[in-house]
C-alpha cells in the first residue's frame, strides 16, 4: 500500500435517495492535484469524505496507507481548508492558530515554533494581533491555509480557496499553494479552470458525481486539439451560434463578435482552427462525456 497516495476505489455516496457520487476510482499522488468540476458536481462531498467529515457510502479509500475508517489517524495527517469557513471573530490571528494547534494535539514548543513560521510565510506576521473579524477576505483565506498547515500535515485539502478573492489575492494564493505542495499531497478542488491551469499538473474532472477525466492538464488540453475554432459572426447570429455550439470565449469588435467554439468538426466554412487552452479542454471533456451545458442545445455536431 503506497504511503504517498490517496487511493479511492469504487466510491459511492448518497444523501438519502439522492446519489451524488458514482463508483469513483481515483489515485492522487504527491504534488498539486486539481479536482475540477461545476457547482454541484460532488467535489465538496468528495473532499469532505477524504477529510472524514462525511461518511462514505460504499467503496474503499486509503489516505497515505491509512483506511478512511481510521478517522483519528487521518485527522493527524490531513489539513483541511473548507469552502465555507470562518473563525471565532473575537480571537486574534495568533490566538486562533494557537487554539487550533492545541486541538491538533501540538505541544507548546511546537506551537511556538510553527505559528511564527506560518505567519511569516503567509504574510500575516504584522496582522497577528488583529481580530479575525477585522481581516479582509484574502487575509482570512491565508489564515485558513495557515491553520490547515499548522500541524505539518502530509495531505492538504483546499476546497474552492479562491472564491471571492480579487485577482491579485487569487494569484498570490495560487502561488502559495504551489509553494506548500513540496512533499505533500495538495488537493485543490475548484470550479475555476484558471486556478487548476496555474497550479496543477494532474487533474480530474468531476461531473454529476462521476470522473470524466483523469490525467495531466496537458493531456486534457491536447484532447481538444483540432476541436477549437474561432469564427467572426454578426451580433444577431450570436444567439444561434451559442445554442448550436459550445462557446468558450467571445470578443466584441465593432458590430462583429469573434467567438471561440469547441466542436468536433469545423462549424462553419469561415471558422479557423486554433490552439486549445485549458478551458477549451475542460469544456470539450464535459461535452465529449455528454454533460449538459447551459444554453447549448445541440442539433448536429456541436462538439458531441
Amino acid at each position: 500500500m503506497n504511503e504517498n497516495e490517496i487511493i479511492i476505489q469504487h466510491l459511492n455516496k448518497s444523501y438519502g435517495k439522492r446519489q451524488v457520487l458514482f463508483d469513483l476510482n481515483l489515485t492522487i499522488c504527491k504534488g498539486m492535484f486539481g479536482l475540477l468540476g461545476r457547482n454541484g458536481a460532488g467535489k465538496t462531498t468528495l473532499m469532505k469524505i477524504i477529510s472524514t467529515l462525511v461518511n462514505k457510502g460504499s467503496g474503499n479509500i486509503t489516505v497515505c496507507g491509512i483506511p478512511i475508517e481510521n478517522a483519528k489517524e487521518i485527522r493527524r495527517i490531513i489539513g483541511f481548508l473548507p469552502q465555507e469557513f470562518s473563525m471565532y471573530p473575537g480571537m486574534t490571528v495568533q490566538e486562533t492558530l494557537d487554539y487550533l494547534g492545541i486541538l491538533s494535539d501540538m505541544d507548546k514548543a511546537a506551537r511556538k515554533r510553527q505559528i511564527p513560521l506560518l505567519l511569516e510565510k503567509l504574510n500575516l506576521t504584522e496582522h497577528r494581533n488583529k481580530k479575525v473579524k477585522a481581516l479582509s477576505g484574502g487575509m482570512k483565506r491565508r489564515l485558513g491555509i495557515a491553520q490547515a498547515l499548522l500541524h505539518n500535515p502530509r495531505v492538504v485539502i483546499v476546497d474552492e480557496p479562491t472564491a471571492g478573492l480579487d485577482p491579485e489575492e487569487r494569484i498570490r494564493f495560487r502561488n502559495l499553494l504551489c509553494e506548500i505542495a513540496g512533499e505533500r499531497i495538495v488537493i485543490l478542488s475548484t470550479h475555476i479552470v484558471g486556478d487548476v491551469e496555474a497550479t496543477c499538473e494532474d487533474v480530474a474532472v468531476l461531473d454529476g458525481g462521476r470522473i470524466l477525466f483523469r490525467g495531466r492538464v496537458t493531456d486534457m488540453i491536447n484532447a481538444a486539439k483540432d476541436k477549437v475554432f474561432t469564427l467572426v459572426v454578426r451580433k444577431d447570429e450570436l444567439a444561434d451560434i451559442k445554442r448550436r455550439y459550445i462557446v468558450t470565449g467571445m470578443t466584441a469588435t465593432g458590430g462583429k463578435t469573434t467567438v471561440r467554439i469547441v466542436a468536433d468538426e469545423r462549424p462553419h466554412p469561415h471558422a479557423k482552427a486554433c490552439e486549445p487552452n485549458v478551458e477549451d479542454g475542460y469544456m470539450y471533456c464535459l461535452c465529449r462525456n455528454g454533460a449538459k451545458i447551459q444554453g447549448h442545445k445541440p442539433e448536429t455536431g456541436g462538439g458531441q
Binding site: 458536481a41 462531498t45 472524514t52 494535539d105 474552492e160 470550479h191
Partner: protein, 423 residues
C-alpha cells in the same frame, strides 16, 4: 499538558461570552437583593420572648379546623385564592360550583348545605354559621374532600396537597427555639445554617442560568462556521466535549465560590463581638465551600449538561426551553418543601435560617439526590461526546436543498445541514 492549555483556552472563551457576564451579574444581584436581607445574626432565644417564630405541624387536629375555617371564609365571600403554576389568582365560582363546595363543607362540618348556601348569599355575612369539624370525618376523608374542593377551584388552591400543610402553622415554643439554636451552634457550627440559606438562593440561579452559557458556547462553533476546522483536528471528541464542559463549570463555579468566601466573612463579622470564646473554635470556616461543592455543584453540572447535550444534539437553543420549564415547574412543586425536605428537586430548597433538624433528618436523601444529579450530568456529557463524534464523522449528515423542510421533518432537527454545495 495540552489538555491544561485547552482547558485555559476554553475558560477564556467562557469568561468572554456575554451570557457568562450576565450570569455573574444576575447571581450577584440576586444574592445581594434576596439573600442579604435575610442574613442576620442568630440570637440565643430568651424565656418570655414575645415570639419565637412559627413552625409547621402535621397534626390533623391543627390542620383540619384551620383549613375548614379558611375554606368557609372563602366560600361565603366566593373569593378563593389559588396559585396555578405558582402565580396568584383570585377565583370566583359559579352557582353550580358553589353548591358543590357547599356540599363538601356540609360533609366536613355537618352543617346543612342549605344553611351554608344561605350564609354565602347573604350580604354583609349576617348569617355566618359557626362551623366545626364533623367528628365522624377522619383525616383521610378530610384529605379526599380537600382534594375535591381544590379541583372545584381549578387546582393550585390552598387545599391542594402542595399548600395544605400551611394550615399546620403553629407558634414555636421557647424550648423549640432553644433546641434549634443549640443545633445551629453545635451541629451547623454556626456557618452551616447560613451556607444552607445561601445554597437555597444560589441554587435557584444555578438551576437555570448556566444553560444560557452552555447553549451560547455550544452554538459558537456553528455560528462562527468553525465546525469543519475543529472537526478535522486530532483531539478526541471526548476530550473536546469534556474539557469544554469542565471549563464552563469551573468558570461558573468561580463567582459562586467568591461569593461564598465573602459571605463567610460576613457571618464571621456577625459574631466578631461574641463573648463566647468557643464560638470561633466551633465556627466552620469552610461551610460555604463545602455546601458550594456538595449542594450547588450538582445543580450547576446538570443545568450545564442539559445545555451541552441538547445543543450538541440539535444544533438549536432548545435546551433553554427544556431547562427553563424544568426550572419553573421544579420551583413551583418545591414550595411544599421550601424549608427543607429536598425530595428529588434539582435545586433543593431550604429557605430558612436554621431548621437544622430537618436538614439532618433528610441528609441521606439529599446526598443521594446530589449524587444522582452529578452522575446524570456526567452521563449526559458522555452521550454528548458520542453525538459530537458521530456528527464529526458525518453520521447525521444530510444534503438539504430546502431548509424550509425543517418545519416538516422532525428527524432533520437532529442532523447537520449542508446547503446546496457549490461544488
Amino acid at each position: 499538558m495540552n489538555t491544561a492549555a485547552m482547558f485555559f483556552k476554553e475558560c477564556k472563551k467562557t469568561i468572554k461570552s456575554i451570557p457568562y457576564m450576565a450570569y455573574v451579574a444576575i447571581l450577584l444581584i440576586f444574592i445581594l437583593t434576596q439573600l442579604m436581607p435575610e442574613f442576620k445574626k442568630i440570637d440565643e432565644p430568651q424565656p418570655e420572648q414575645r415570639s419565637y417564630g412559627v413552625k409547621y405541624t402535621e397534626d390533623p387536629e391543627i390542620i383540619m379546623p384551620a383549613a375548614i375555617n379558611n375554606l368557609y371564609q372563602e366560600f361565603i365571600s366566593n373569593s378563593y385564592t389559588a396559585y396555578p403554576l405558582g402565580f396568584y389568582k383570585n377565583i370566583k365560582l359559579n352557582n353550580k360550583k358553589q353548591e358543590e363546595m357547599a356540599g363538601i363543607l356540609a360533609e366536613v362540618t355537618g352543617v346543612s348545605k342549605d344553611e351554608l348556601l344561605q350564609s354565602a348569599i347573604t350580604e354583609e355575612f349576617t348569617h355566618v354559621v359557626q362551623i366545626d369539624i364533623n367528628a365522624a370525618i377522619n383525616y383521610e376523608e378530610f384529605l379526599y374532600l380537600m382534594k375535591k374542593a381544590d379541583r372545584i377551584i381549578g387546582g393550585g388552591s390552598m387545599y391542594s396537597e402542595l399548600y395544605l400543610y400551611q394550615f399546620g402553622k403553629i407558634d414555636k415554643t421557647y424550648e423549640d427555639a432553644l433546641t434549634e439554636y443549640i443545633d445551629i451552634i453545635q451541629k451547623d457550627r454556626v456557618s452551616g445554617a447560613y451556607a444552607r440559606l445561601f445554597s437555597d438562593y444560589a441554587g435557584i440561579i444555578l438551576a437555570v442560568c448556566p444553560v444560557f452559557v452552555a447553549v451560547t458556547l455550544g452554538l459558537k462553533d456553528k455560528m462562527s462556521r468553525m465546525n469543519d476546522l475543529i472537526y478535522t483536528r486530532q483531539a478526541s471528541s471526548i476530550k473536546i466535549v469534556f474539557v469544554r464542559y469542565f471549563a464552563m463549570i469551573s468558570m461558573m463555579l468561580l463567582p459562586v465560590l467568591l461569593i461564598a468566601f465573602w459571605l463567610t466573612m460576613e457571618v464571621v463579622k456577625f459574631y466578631s463581638e461574641e463573648s463566647m470564646i468557643n464560638m470561633y473554635a466551633n465556627f466552620d470556616m469552610l461551610a460555604f465551600v463545602k455546601y458550594t461543592f456538595g449542594w450547588l455543584l450538582p445543580t450547576l453540572m446538570v443545568s450545564t449538561a442539559v445545555g451541552v447535550f441538547l445543543t450538541g444534539l440539535t444544533g438549536t437553543p432548545i435546551a433553554i426551553l427544556v431547562q427553563g420549564l424544568w426550572w419553573f415547574f421544579g420551583l413551583f412543586s418545591g414550595i411544599r418543601i421550601m424549608e427543607g425536605g429536598y425530595g428529588w428537586s434539582l435545586a433543593p430548597r431550604h429557605n430558612i435560617l436554621g431548621n437544622t433538624r430537618v436538614y439532618l433528618e433528610n441528609f441521606k436523601l439529599l446526598m443521594v439526590n446530589r449524587i444522582i444529579y452529578a452522575v446524570m450530568a456526567i452521563v449526559l456529557v458522555s452521550v454528548s461526546a458520542l453525538v459530537y463524534e458521530a456528527k464529526r464523522k458525518g453520521r447525521f449528515y444530510t444534503y438539504d436543498s430546502n431548509r424550509k423542510s425543517i418545519l416538516i421533518s422532525i428527524r432533520k432537527v437532529f442532523v447537520n445541514y449542508e446547503k446546496i454545495s457549490k461544488a
